[in-house]
Amino acid sequence: MKILVPVKRVVDYNVKVRVKPDQSGVDIANVKMSMNPFCEIAVEEAVRLKEKGLASEIVAVSAGVAQCQETLRNAMAIGADRGILIESDAELQPLAVAKLLKAVVEREQPRLVILGKQAIDDDANQTGQMLAALLGWGQATFASKVELTADTVTVTREVDGGLETVALKLPAIVTTDLRLNEPRYATLPNIMKAKKKPLDTVKPADLGVDVTPRLTTLKVEEPPKRQGGVKVPDVATLIEKLKNEAKVI
């Protein structure tokens, strides 16, 4: 069984982004970029399924600038077998990415696509569900456990208030939540090996997809700052303040 894993290159999760003074966006020049953490969990899950003998090939795919090759090499160092870069300098919004991925799915015919639930830059949480809808497939978002057989995938999902388990007919879409697994560190030999794995590049036009943005960002601002308050010396003072000053208890 072939598994497709889309991965996104984003500002590293340890970087505190700064809004540009002209409010045109956040400043990502000279900022460390990494694979989106939820995508890393997706790659790891696919690799574990392959290690269990449940998958035969893992194809990583990324859409964006040429440097997304690094993200794909990273996925291959974790264990993906090959990579596909959909190269574009345009702003790619989730609907456009879902259409690009649909075209790749039609070429590659995977039985399972595992994606991160959201990217930590735009926090959209859309692409997996959109891809599932465009393909007419079932979806299991926010996965914390994935059990794969030849024709179904059974997924435990993190939902409000607890867990829900659903069964999907293959082919299907799964999106990952935090607790699905803990991604391994890529070892140096695997990083070296990943450099030799095949990486194809295509353009959105080759896939016949119009990626024109539907949304325009008018401005990006700093959120209003919350002012810190006072330190209280002891528990008694805290209770007194909460009762008489804040009046919340």
Binding site: V19, V26, A133, Q139, D160, L163, T165, L178, V232
Partner: protein, 310 residues
């Protein structure tokens, strides 16, 4: 101009998040219709009809909606979508599952997690874990939106008298089926609806200590229990306790952060709380930068003392 609100419900009652979405629809303007896609869900539809500002309730009652699967819910929304300029859902696990499917089926962009309506085409939403707010304008004829509940005061549950119109329920998609649910049974208020939240972080050291130290305080205050991502990652509590950009977004009257350092991703989930209390032994912890009242103390002494003196 008219808005369609996708109701989140349990067939018998409306989930609170639906009321926030109705409020967001009111901010856009025009008629507000609510779609209840459920099974034996006339009670939920009747509740929606009472909500202030609702003009009409569409009830799609059928077995396909028995487990609220997103494949069927999205197909149902698309079946009635033609009449609407805006389609709104709560930014909850349910809404996040359904809305992007609707957007893709309609070939329209979605704007996720809106916190403000600027005008009928323009919305503000947080990006980068709440470190920036983007003002986004849509050029699509239909806007599909998910709404951050804490940003819109809920619509009143009474005052409306909308008609309930039955619409044909879609057939089951056949691609997904419900297996089981393990919903945490709790006497406590729900995290996103609680007036007081007691939340714990890595400072508690273990799941046992988390329960031993925080449960009595939460009991005393009739508070919901929450946790930082670090505490969830360390396995102290289940993921549905998580407050933060990748967990729940909360805005209670009182948020008590215990042993939480205050990572950006956590602050993004709770900084709209009315009053924040931080108890942490590290005086330099970033949580003190947003706390109204900070207590630098050993939580294992301070929290039991607080519980005893309340």
């Amino acid at each position: 101009m008219s808005c369609l609100v996708i109701a989140e419900h349990d067939h018998a009652t409306l989930k609170a998040a639906t009321l926030n979405v109705i409020a967001a629809a009111a901010a856009i303007g025009g008629d507000i219709h609510v779609l209840v896609a459920g099974h034996n869900a006339s009670a939920a539809a009747a509740a929606a009809a009472q909500v202030h500002g609702v003009g009409k309730v569409l009830l799609a009652d059928g077995a396909a909606h028995g487990h609220l699967l997103p494949e069927n819910a999205a197909a149902q929304v698309v079946a009635v979508a033609a009449a609407y300029n805006h389609i709104l859902a709560p930014a909850t696990a349910y809404g996040k599952g359904v809305a992007p499917r609707v957007a893709a089926l309609l070939d329209r962009a979605q704007i996720s997690d809106i916190i403000r309506v600027v005008d009928a085409d323009t919305f503000v939403r947080p990006i980068y874990a709440g470190n920036a707010y983007a003002t986004v304008k849509s050029s699509d004829s239909v806007k599909v939106l998910t709404v951050r509940g804490t940003a819109f005061a809920p619509a009143a549950t009474t005052g409306g008298s909308a008609a309930v119109e039955n619409v044909g329920a879609v057939a089951d998609s056949g691609v997904a089926s419900f297996v089981s649910a393990e919903i945490t049974k709790s006497e406590r208020p729900e995290l996103t609806a609680a007036k007081i939240i007691v939340s714990g972080g890595r400072g508690l050291g273990s799941g046992e200590k988390y329960r031993e130290v925080l449960t009595p305080l939460a009991d005393k205050l009739n508070a919901a229990l929450g946790a930082s991502r670090a505490a969830v990652d360390a396995g102290y509590v289940a993921n549905d306790f998580q407050v933060g950009q990748t967990g729940k977004i909360v805005a209670p009257e009182l948020y008590i952060a215990v042993g939480i350092s205050g990572a950006i991703q956590h602050l993004a989930g709770m900084k709209d709380s009315k009053v924040i209390v931080a108890i942490n032994k590290d005086p330099d912890a970033p949580i003190f930068g947003v706390a109204d009242y900070g207590l630098v103390a050993d939580l294992f002494e301070a929290v039991p003392e607080l519980t005893a003196k309340l």
